[in-house]
Symmetry: C2
Subunit: 185 residues, 2 copies
């Protein structure tokens, strides 16, 4: 990025969040976001494949962080515990961003095409987690089942974290959802 | 449907499967499917919202069957066991259709837009299962977690059923995946 665009990415994300909340997601174009952030449409598309991706900016980083944490988890951890360690470390990236997460969740809840994109991101997180567990030597079907279970725990914990009145931190929400999952059997 | 269209729906599904396998999904239009099945395009769209839906014809029926089975499951079953009973009963609809399921899975595996639709159908099955568990008096987060876990078991079992060389029946694949899930903790 040129020096004339300090934090262009951050400005586009903030502009998009405001426009989506004010006008609605469908009524906002990539051009509107670029204009509001003071960049060209070409700059917008150098950063984001489409306007939906603005809301999933951190997901690739989170996926990579979780993947690395699973590989780095102590050897004695069970596949599920290793996968959950990945969710806690990945979720740690969001811990200080709850206000943003709450606003983002409201926008997604109002738009089926965004919910669809979210399902794809969650499926990608399951795949990355499965792959990390296989690298730890976990065989099938345990790798897939543990990965799905851990991402489910994250999904349920995250939903509580953004919707409850005064929730504990995301890490605590993940720990409580994991305990509830274990209590199911 | 008029009497001049005996099993038009079945003919459209069979025609679509053949065309998707021969020409590829992207290269096949709704008009091609209608023509090959000997119906008008208008008839096609009276049955299916788009050409993707042809491959998900049974999913609403399966969802309803699973939902009813969960409500009808014995009171003493745990939330997870009730949800799994729903998967087994729903999966029972497919037990005699393995050849169709194998062909269908190959078509879906080759097309990202079909994989996306499959994720939406699985998410709808999680929602229906959660709703059925809530009707049984299960509270959150147990209802969501048990529903996600049961659909994951179904998903993993189904993948094995359609990809293994000589798999046992789908019900047996579900039972084995459920046992592997329990063994995770």
């Amino acid at each position: 990025m040129g020096r004339w665009e300090p934090d262009a990415r951050g400005r586009m994300i903030r502009a998009a969040m405001e426009l989506f909340a004010e006008r609605g997601f469908e009524q906002t174009t990539a051009g509107d976001i670029a204009e509001s952030a003071g960049v060209t449409e070409r700059t917008f598309f150098r950063h984001f494949a489409d306007k939906r991706e603005v809301l999933f900016d951190g997901s690739a980083t989170m996926e990579r962080t979780a993947y690395d944490a699973i590989l780095a988890a102590p050897d004695h951890l069970s596949p599920l515990d290793a996968a959950l360690a990945g969710m806690v470390t990945g979720g740690g990236l969001l811990e200080d961003l709850r206000d943003h997460a709450v606003r983002r969740s409201r926008i997604i809840a109002a738009n089926p095409s965004l919910q669809e994109r979210e399902l794809l991101k969650l499926a990608a997180m399951v795949d990355a987690t499965t792959e990390a567990l296989r690298k730890r030597g976990v065989t099938e079907p345990a790798a897939s089942l543990a990965a799905h279970s851990a991402v489910t725990v994250f999904h349920v914990a995250f939903a509580r974290w953004v919707s409850a009145e005064e929730p504990p931190g995301l890490a605590e929400c993940i720990a409580e959802a994991a305990a509830a999952l274990r209590a199911l059997r």
